[in-house]
Symmetry: C2
Subunit: 295 residues, 2 copies
Amino acid sequence: MTEPIFERLVLIGVGLIGSSVARIARARGDIARVVVANARTEATLARVNELGIADVCEIDLVRAVEGADCVMLCAPVGAYAALAAAIGPHLAPGSIVTDVGSTKQSVIRDIGPHLPQGVHFVPAHPMAGTEFSGPDAGFVELFRGRWCLLTPPPGTDPQAVERIKMLWERCGASISVMDPAHHDRVVAIVSHLPHLIAFTICGTADDLADETRKEVLQFAASGFRDFTRIAASDPVMWRDVFLNNREALLEMLARFTEDAQAMARAVRWGDSSYIEDKVNRGRKIRQALLDLHQA
Amino acid sequence: MTEPIFERLVLIGVGLIGSSVARIARARGDIARVVVANARTEATLARVNELGIADVCEIDLVRAVEGADCVMLCAPVGAYAALAAAIGPHLAPGSIVTDVGSTKQSVIRDIGPHLPQGVHFVPAHPMAGTEFSGPDAGFVELFRGRWCLLTPPPGTDPQAVERIKMLWERCGASISVMDPAHHDRVVAIVSHLPHLIAFTICGTADDLADETRKEVLQFAASGFRDFTRIAASDPVMWRDVFLNNREALLEMLARFTEDAQAMARAVRWGDSSYIEDKVNRGRKIRQALLDLHQA
C-alpha cells in the first residue's frame, strides 16, 4: 500500500467537512496513519466515537495536537484566531497547519501570527458542501470531482504545499492554487453572495402577512425551493464567512444591487429589450457552465 | 373509458406547457376527443407534427379555434391581448377560454374584453416548469403533484370552472382557487422575484473582469449553479411575466432590497446576532417547506 502522507492528522472540528475527511482518511489508509478528532463539545466527540470515524477522540486541544505532523482546522472561520493561539505553542517544528475555511485572507490574518517558526501553513478551501451539518452529515464522496483551492502565502515551503495538495487529491478533489485576495473575490460572487441572497429572501417571505406566508410555503415554485435549499446551511459557519469576507462580499452585493435596481427600472418603465437581454445573458452563463462541466 | 371533458381542445402555443398538455391529452384520451395545436411559426408546428403529439396542426388562428369547445392560451402572456382579439369573434357560445400564464390580473385585463357574451373564461396557472422550452421540452409528468391555481373572475359559470379543474386534475395537478390579485402577490415572491434575482446575478457575474469571470464559471459552487439553473428559462416568457406583474414584483423586490441592505449593514458593522438570526429564519422556512411537502 502507498505510504500515508502523514503520521498523525488532527482534525479540529468534525462537522460536515471534518467528518468527511476523517471518513476518507480511515477508508483509504494512505492519507494518515492515525486520525485524531477534536471537537468543541463532548457530545459531538462522543458521536464521532460512536460513528467510529477517528482513531483517537481528544477533547483537549493541546493533547489533540501533540505529536501531530498535520493539523487541519475544520471549525467555523470565526474560531480560527483563538484556536491558532491555543495550539501554536504546542506544534512540532516541520508540522503543517492547514484549514478548510471559505475565506482565505482572514484565515491568513488570524492564523499566521500564532504559528511558531518552522511550522508550515497551507490555507485550503475545499469547495464542497451540502445543506446538512455535524459529524453525521459527512460522507466519503463529498469532495469527489469538486475543486479545492490552495492559497499559500508567499514563501510557503513547496513540499508542505505538495503534501496538502496530495491529501486533497486523495479525497477526490481537483486542485487550483491562487492568490488569497483573488480567491475571496471569486467565492464572494459564486458562493457567499448567493447564500446571502437566499437567506435574505427567505426572511422577506417570512415577513409577509400571515395569509400570504402560508401560501408562499404551499405554492413555492421551483424558484423559491432552490433558494431555501441553499438557505438551509449552518448559521454559525455562514455568519463567520460573511463577517470574514466583508469587503469582497459587500462589493459584490453592491454590484448586484445596482443591477437589480436597473432591472426594476426596466420593469417599471416597460423596457422589454433590456429585460430580454438580461435573461439571455443568464442563459449564456448557464451554457458556459455546462460546456465547462462537460469539457 | 371515461367520456372526454372536451370535444375539441385547441392549444395556442405548444412550448413546454402546451406540448405537455397535448402529450397528456393524447395519452389519456379522457381530456379531449381532438387535440388541435396552433403555433406562431410554421417551424414549431412542423415539429409538433413530427412529434405526433396533436391530432390537428393548424397555423391559422381562426381556423384553429373553429368548432372548439375549449381554447387554451399557452403563449407568453404578452401575446394574450392580440390573440384574444383575433379569436374572440370566432369563438362558439358555451365554449371555454382558459390559459396557463403566470400572471393573472393582466390576463383578465387583456383577454376578458375580447370574449363575446356566452363564452366562459377560466384563467389558470399550472405551477410547473423546467429550464427547457419548445415542443420538444414537454413531457407527460410535468404537472404531476404540482399546483394549478385557478382565478375565475366573479360571476364565472361554476360548470366551466369545474371542467377546467377536471382537466388539470387529469394532468396530475392539485387545484386551488384564489383571487387574481392575491395570486399575483404570492407568485411574485415564490417565483417571479427569485427568477429576477437569478437573471440579475448571472449578469453581475458576467460583468466582472475577464480573469475573475473565467474563474467564476470554473469554481461555481452549488450556490451559483442553482441560480444559473433558474436563469436558464425562456427569455420572452419571463420578460412578459415581469412586465405583466409589475406592481407586485416591484413591491417584493423593494422589500427584498431593504432586507438585503439591512443584511449588508449587519455585515459591515459586524452584527453577528442579526446575521445568525436571518440564517436561522432561512432554515426555519426550509423546514416548514419540507414539513408541508411530507404532509
